[in-house]
């Protein structure tokens, strides 16, 4: 690599980084380098050649983790250069430094537009590469017509980059691309295979968004796949004698999207799928990747028995292989097959259990996933046990959230009986209450309130069980918020059902009051506890001094919710009969009848009117009255919101970088005002 145009400093930098033995040493070198760069860049009139080099060094610094934002503006300026080399480096550094929401993007748009229309295709390519990286929502109307025109450029490198840019547009604004579907389809038939391959990505996204509109392309995809597997592409696309494996994988994933639940489309694909799997079976990793993709496809499209058998046999080969990567694929593939037909899982149970005990964490996670999909009412207890065990032992928060979700959904779907469900949910709350969504708690509470719906005595027995369990749980010193909420609610409603010895209603009330003192993450939990106490006192006419003291002390709490509850309690306490009516027993499921017209207040209103109070005037009457009485106010001085005084003219950027950036900000201010 010729380094004649690079300075000695650059060589020194690269060498010293290569030789540095530790991260700290490397950090020191880079910090020194950044200081030198700042000094150089502040010098006036830097030649393009030198600027190129400084930019590369800035990129180096950023790559190794240090901030080099002082160099960004120079990168943007470099793209304006006529010299192709400098322009390319300018674009490259912009790609690396900037992102789509960066303030300097505005300065780049104009250059990009000019370069996209230039006659020199290298310039077009560099501009396109930047478009792919940096385009944002505002730029699309300006840039997209140019890009679409470039789809038919004579150079295939340009066409390829253009279609990748179209892909990026699709991700940001799908509608912009959907109008141009015909043009994109033409790219699919492009004679150059790499352009065709690039178009597959856009078509994949379109197929995911609108499968119906792409169904007519199924024969084309099938025929392309056929051509690939028959080695009709140029030799360069072969990888270890496997023709264009990534294209095959992409085509297979598109086919799987289009064939879902569509018998006619799927029938087109059966033959080619079989052929593909047969040819891919070559003993190389890449071949296995293609087989895996085929299996995924087979499980998604309209099921065909023969293909499923083939897929299952391949998966069993994977799962029992020595190569751990293949086992991983096998487990994942099995999870998908099982969704179509659970029978296939049975023969591999031993292997799956082995995988679960494997020290490899990734494999364990995938096996848990497989177990989750394989659950049925028979094995749900075992599966949930395993999941709970992992929840207990794992530390990673993403995994825990995932496990909590799985356990709750399994418990809700397959619970053998209510008691087991309550126990499982309690364990989950205890282990990781903060990760459980609130709906789960509501479901649980609703279950306790409504019961299973058939048998009154079974419901009561269940409620007794729930109350007893929660009473015992309350003894524990630390509980998660959501659990305390549930306990408080259940005890408030059904405390009289408690059958454990030594716990009278007074004791329960005392326990609850003591609970209020505990520190909570969610302040509304105390609200729950206070309401529970209210219910107990209301229904049983308790005279519990501890409870009343607590409530009086929380009357002045900062949380308005809590304050309101305490005040309501004080008021209600004064008439026990009213309290019993407002907080009836076991009536959480009944609707509250609201008299919208407030007819019961008629007599009160009439009495007040007789005493001489003014009758009510609604808003329009009030406004009419106000206008006639209005004194015309002085005109409000309207200050102009835009400052039309000219700014101080921009001076040439000759000073220190600090000044430079301020001036640039001025310029962009002006730009923004005028847009």
């Amino acid at each position: 690599m010729s380094g004649g145009h690079l300075s000695k400093e650059f060589f020194e930098l690269v060498k010293s980084i290569g030789e540095s033995r530790s991260k700290q040493e490397e950090d020191k070198i880079i910090v020194g380098e950044i200081a030198i760069l700042k000094q150089h860049l502040s010098a006036p009139n830097i030649s393009a050649k030198k600027m190129k080099e400084y930019m590369i060094r800035a990129v180096y610094a950023e790559m190794l983790g240090h901030d080099a934002s002082f160099a960004y503006i120079h990168a943007v300026k470099l793209t304006h250069e006529k010299n192709l080399f400098a322009k390319r480096i300018g674009y490259l550094t912009c790609n690396l430094f900037l992102h789509k929401d960066h303030e300097l993007m505005l300065l780049l748009i104009n250059t990009m537009q000019r370069d996209l229309q230039s006659a020199n295709h290298i310039e077009v390519c560099s501009a396109l590469a930047s478009v792919c990286r940096l385009v944002n929502l505002e730029m699309i109307p300006a840039i997209s017509p140019l890009v679409f025109k470039l789809l038919s450029h004579p150079q295939e490198a340009v066409r390829k980059k253009a279609i990748v840019a179209v892909h990026k547009f699709f991700k940001i604004v799908p509608e912009a691309v959907l109008d141009q579907k015909d043009q994109i389809r033409k790219v699919l038939c492009d004679p150059d295979p790499s352009v065709m391959g690039a178009s597959l990505h856009v078509l994949c996204e379109i197929a995911k968004a609108h499968p119906a509109s792409s169904k007519d392309l199924v024969p084309s995809f099938v025929s392309i796949l056929k051509q690939i597997t028959e080695h009709r592409l140029p030799r360069d696309f072969d990888y270890h004698r496997m023709p264009a494996p990534w294209l095959q994988v992409k085509l297979l994933s598109i086919l799987s999207i289009l064939g879902t639940a569509d018998k006619a489309a799927s029938e087109h694909m059966y033959e080619i799928l079989q052929e593909c799997m047969r040819r891919a079976d070559s003993g190389v990793n890449v071949g296995y990747a293609i087989i895996y993709e085929c299996v995924k496809c087979i499980t998604r499209i309209f099921p065909d028995h023969g293909l499923l058998e083939l897929a299952a046999s391949n998966i069993s080969r994977f799962i029992s292989s020595e190569n751990h990567n293949l086992r991983y694929l096998g487990v994942t593939g099995l999870a998908q097959i099982v969704q179509v037909n659970p029978a296939y899982a049975a023969e591999h149970q031993m292997v799956v259990v082995d995988c679960l005990e494997d020290p490899d964490e990734t494999l364990k996670r995938k096996t848990l996933d497989l177990l989750f999909r394989m659950t049925n009412p028979q094995n749900v207890v075992v599966v949930v046990d395993k999941l709970t065990f992992h929840l207990r032992t794992s530390v990673d928060s993403h995994l825990r959230r995932d496990l909590v979700q799985k356990i709750t959904s399994l418990a809700e779907r397959f619970a053998p009986d209510n008691e087991w469900y309550v126990n499982t949910m309690n364990t989950v709350f205890e282990l990781s209450g903060e990760l459980v969504p609130a709906e789960t708690a509501y479901n649980l509470m609703r279950l306790v309130a409504e019961g299973a719906g058939e048998d009154e005595s079974a419901d009561t027995a269940f409620r007794v069980f729930a109350v007893n369990t929660y009473l015992k749980l309350l003894e524990k010193p630390t509980l998660s918020d959501i659990l305390v909420q549930v306990i408080a609610w259940v005890l408030g409603e059904y405390a009289r059902l408690a059958t454990i010895d030594g716990y009278t209603i007074e004791d329960i009330a005392d326990l609850l009051s003591e609970c209020i003192e505990r520190p909570f993450e969610d302040p509304s939990t105390r609200g729950y506890l206070v309401t529970a106490l209210l219910k107990l006192i209301g229904q049983h006419g308790l005279k519990s001094t501890t409870a009343e003291d607590i409530i009086r002390s929380y009357r002045s709490s900062r949380m308005t919710d809590l304050q309101q509850r305490c005040y309501e309690f004080e008021q209600l306490r004064q008439s026990p009969a009213l309290m019993r009516k407002v907080l009836p027993y076991d009536a959480s499921c009944e609707d509250i009848a609201v008299n919208k017209d407030l007819t019961f207040l008629e007599s009160f209103v009439r009495q007040k009117l007789d005493e001489g109070a003014k009758p009510y005037q609604n808003a329009s009457e009030r406004a009419a009255r106000a206008q006639t009485q209005n004194v015309p106010k002085a005109e409000v001085e309207t200050k102009p919101s835009l400052n039309f005084m000219p700014y101080i003219g921009p001076t040439k950027p000759q000073q220190l970088p600090a000044d430079n950036s301020i001036q640039m900000e001025d310029k962009s201010e002006v730009l923004r005002e005028h847009i």
């Binding site: 991260k23 190794l64 990888y239 494996p245 990793n285 990747a289 995924k296 694929l329 490899d360 964490e361």
Partner: protein, 105 residues
Amino acid sequence: MIKFILMVNKQGQTRLAQYYEFLSVRERVTLEGELIRKCLSRSESQCSFVEYRDYRVVYRRYASLYFIVGIDNDEDCNELAILEFIHTLVETLDKYFENVCELDI
């Protein structure tokens, strides 16, 4: 969709970093540090795929250099295909540099 490609050596020095989604410099540094620690702690007999935050990460070790590719999670991503992609990358570098080694990078 590939989110990032990294080449990190055993001492934790990043030799190459290419990000396809914007992450601030500080986030990048933490990401690289945590990932290399995770990959280093795995043995040969464990599979090359890891789940990290909300990405799936595929890595492969060549001599003292770890090639790490991060892809979108829960998509139709074929991890083995990505692994082979890493290998293609290495083969291409090899062809270009003739017997590539870490120093070339």
